[in-house]
């Protein structure tokens, strides 16, 4: 079972690796590159959303932070791309610590609100600051080599996937996250420090987003607050993860491919109805919650983990025959 999963992951990686050898079509290459990016974003979102049970409605802010950091360091600081990219990841992680400290001590509702507000604040910040180019955005030095970006994305997303796979499915960390998702108080009694662990998960979720943002900026060569800091990155990541299956790695990856493929067709053939896409995204996620709480992956594998019937016995009541009133 486990071996066959690893085999499938390997086959998928190899298939993605040879695609550029089979086609010279730049549009196709571009589509697959971006699909891989969304896999990375959705899977990273799920570290906190699915495994830990804290919904980050500001995922896009960390993606945008990485994009802007890379752009600013390359353009204003003349840093080499690799270094600027790394800095973008570090900054996204640092931002998660700052944003997580007050909010991850509280119930999930606060966190959801705070991250959503954070995304708007970061967008506003990029609009008013000088060195980000304000509403005009920034241009990066064009490096027009689709193959380079394809393989870079392939390598990064593979690393992200493998690292998360090891951390979440094979090491203690993933189990701790799930324990906290299920019951924070109970987890404390077992020696887990929820706030620390949640912040670690938040960082683990946002660093990949920041790095992918940096790659995106250099690849597309133009960023502005509307494109990299708009709502769409968050909206799509959330929908992909929920639709695919929360709390798994394969689920969000499958969700990402399906949703992104749908979006590509939709925007290609119905480009004048782009806003309709929002309706579809919203409907898909709302319906998923009601009818597919375990996502597509739950449907495919039939694994309803939290499903098993509640105990048929009554709650913690002492049956009368066992109660002895007085000593």
């Amino acid at each position: 079972m486990r071996r066959s999963r690893a085999l499938w992951a390997g086959i998928t990686a190899v298939v993605f690796a040879v695609i550029p050898l089979l086609t010279r079509d730049t549009f196709a290459l571009r589509v697959v590159t971006e699909a891989m990016m969304w896999i990375g974003l959705a899977v990273a979102w799920d570290v906190l959303g699915g495994y830990t049970g804290y919904l980050n409605f500001g995922h896009g802010a960390f993606f945008g932070l990485g994009a802007y950091t890379t752009a600013v360091l390359m353009m204003r600081g003349h840093w080499p791309f690799a270094l600027a990219l790394a800095a973008g990841g570090v900054l996204a992680g640092a931002a998660a610590v700052v944003a997580g400290l007050p909010t991850l001590r509280l119930k999930g509702a606060y966190f959801a609100i705070a991250t959503w507000a954070l995304a708007r604040a970061v967008q506003q910040l990029a609009l008013v600051l000088e060195f980000t180019g304000g509403p005009d955005g920034m241009r990066l030095p064009p490096f027009l080599n689709p193959q380079f970006f394809y393989y870079l994305m392939w390598a990064l997303v593979s690393v992200i996937f493998v690292v998360l796979w090891i951390l979440l499915e094979h090491s203690a960390f993933g189990l701790k996250l799930q324990a906290i998702r299920e019951d924070e108080e109970g987890a404390m009694a077992l020696g887990l420090k929820p706030t620390t662990i949640k912040i670690q998960a938040f960082v683990l979720s946002t660093v990949p987003a920041g790095i992918l943002g940096g790659v995106y900026a250099y690849w597309i060569t133009f960023i502005d607050p509307a494109s990299v800091l708009g709502d769409l990155v968050t909206d799509q990541s959330v929908v992909m993860a929920v639709f695919g299956g929360l709390g798994t790695l394969v689920g969000p990856a499958v969700g990402a491919v399906l949703i992104y493929a749908f979006k590509t067709f939709f925007w290609a053939y119905l480009s004048e109805y782009q806003v309709l896409y929002l309706i579809i995204l919203g409907t898909v996620i709302a319906l998923s919650v009601v009818f597919l709480p375990d996502g597509l992956i739950g449907l495919l594998t039939g694994r309803g983990r939290a499903e098993a019937p509640r105990s048929p016995e009554p709650a913690d009541e002492n049956p009368p025959e066992l109660r002895e009133a007085a000593p």
Binding site: Q124, V128, V238, I285, V290, P293, A306
Partner: protein
């Protein structure tokens, strides 16, 4: 020179703060009773505003006269949606609050998309007869202008707050709502139909928010993209007040109105949102239960 602008800034802030009460009131009620964070709150405001806009176009009536119609329509909409939300949060998934959040988030996206599709990207306003009027006051060398429509908005907000307060305190329905907010199981034992009450609560939240949209449309402008801004305002007010703590809402709303109008006069308005966010952050850091909530 600058301090002479202060009375006007404070007045504007209080008047607008009044409207923010109603932006956040329904939202806070829904959270207090059902523990649902309604990400769609701003979208209900947007939809209500557009219903007002089109109704005015068809009937030619003053938008303020249309408020009851908008309220009735959207209370019905909210009432009808609540069972779906209930289904989302009572599924077999471990964390119902989580699923509720995702659901209303999806609702927000769908409504925003629908709004942009149907209403387009243009801004409109819903002028009332009061929109053009204003009073000019002078005292001790200080001048203030009181735009009539803002005063109407303020009175509307205070009125709605008072009515809601009265309903919650002095009716059987209000007692049931409060019982439900305190303890679901006990409320069930008392023979309260939790589902019906929840539907009414969500209905009232949606109705009040939609109605507020019309008032906002007669003061400012409306557009299909407006929802997000008001959702943020509602979040801010509710976190400042203490989540689900209704009595804190007015004070938090006034504070927000003041911050905004002071920034408008003395600062750079494009930093308003950032300032609001900074305040939100500090509150969460220092006093996570809000500034106005007492005890737990």
């Amino acid at each position: 020179m600058l301090w002479q602008l202060l009375p006007q800034a404070v007045l504007d802030g209080l008047l607008i703060g009044g409207v923010y009460i109603t932006v956040a009131l329904g939202f806070s009620l829904a959270f207090g009773v059902k523990h649902i964070i309604d990400f769609a709150v701003g979208e209900w405001i947007m939809l209500g505003a557009f219903l007002g806009y089109y109704l005015q176009g068809w009937t030619g009536l003053d938008p303020l006269l249309l408020l009851p119609v908008v309220f009735a329509v959207f209370t019905a909409v909210g009432y009808a949606i609540q069972p779906v939300i209930h289904r989302a949060v009572s599924g077999r998934r471990g964390n119902p609050v989580l699923m509720g959040l995702v659901f209303t988030f999806g609702l927000m996206l769908a409504i925003r998309g629908a709004g942009l599709t149907v209403f387009g990207f243009f801004s409109h306003s819903i002028p009332s007869v009061m929109s053009a009027r204003s009073w000019f006051l002078e005292a001790g060398g200080l001048f203030v202008t009181v735009p009539a429509i803002r005063l109407v908005g303020f009175v509307y907000a205070i009125g709605i707050t008072a009515v809601l307060h009265w309903v919650l305190r002095h009716t059987d329905f209000g007692l049931a709502v409060r019982a439900l907010a305190q303890n679901r199981d006990a409320a069930g034992l008392m023979g309260i139909n939790a589902r019906r009450i929840s539907s009414w609560v969500y209905g009232i939240h949606v109705g009040v928010s939609a109605m507020t949209g019309v008032v906002i449309g007669s003061i400012f402008s409306i557009s299909a993209q407006m929802g997000g801004d008001y959702t943020i305002l509602a979040f801010f007010v509710v976190v400042l007040a203490g989540m689900g703590y209704l009595a804190g809402v007015p004070w938090a709303a006034f504070l927000l109105g003041l911050v905004q109008s002071l920034f408008l006069v003395y600062g750079n308005p494009s930093y308003t949102l950032l300032a609001v966010f900074a305040i939100l952050y500090l509150i969460l850091l220092v006093s996570p239960r809000g500034l106005f909530a007492k005890g737990v």
